[in-house]
Amino acid sequence: MRADIRVQLEDFDIAAEWAACRQRCGGECGAIVAFGGLVRDRFGDSAVQGLHLEHYPGMTEDSIRRIVDQAAERWRLLDVVVVHRVGYLAPPEQIVLVLAASGHRPDAFAACEFIMDYLKTDAVFWKKELREDGDAWIESTAGDRTRRESWGQETPAEGAST
């Protein structure tokens, strides 16, 4: 399986990523699933001006690679692309793209959703919502953690406190 993992300030082009993925896969590929995450303009009743996304260069890419490797162990994948933006993003900009290509659709769907669920809980990013009612650092929700756990196996690495 080929994996292309990028963290970047620039926007991404779904068309170019999709075409390159098809090109790499050739005739073996029966299914491509793409997820695009966008900045919403509201959080509850409050207008959202934008997001500030921060990462830890090196460690962030490693954290994504570990997630993709886990997906590759679970499903038959031909190609995976993860592009995650950082910096300031205003609604309705694109935040993240996950592409999973496989011979078969169940594998492509499962892998793409698995990667997204794990990105929410395990990828090394921090996200500040710039809102009408005050800025707030966003954490993964209880729902995110439940979805992550629904995939079974592996628990997050235990962190140390001082």
């Binding site: 994504i64 990105l119 990013f125 962190g159 001082t162």
Partner: protein, 84 residues
Amino acid sequence: MTALTVRFFASLREAVGVGDLDIEVDPPTLVGLRSALATRLTPEQFHAIDMAEVCIAVNQAIAQRDTPLRAGDEVAFLPRVTGG
């Protein structure tokens, strides 16, 4: 004394007011680092980075309680992450 670089991310950077800090610790352990930071930071700053949910990475790998520290190591304080 062992010289380290400490990094604070996101809400922790905001709480401490800086992203990087050079610090000397003795002994070269996470416990030694904690003592050094308790002296160097204000009580409010220290409280922010001393929370149970804060993860510590040494040279970009999640540290365990007994991870040894060497001169020049980069020790990062990471609040709860979320991507996507």
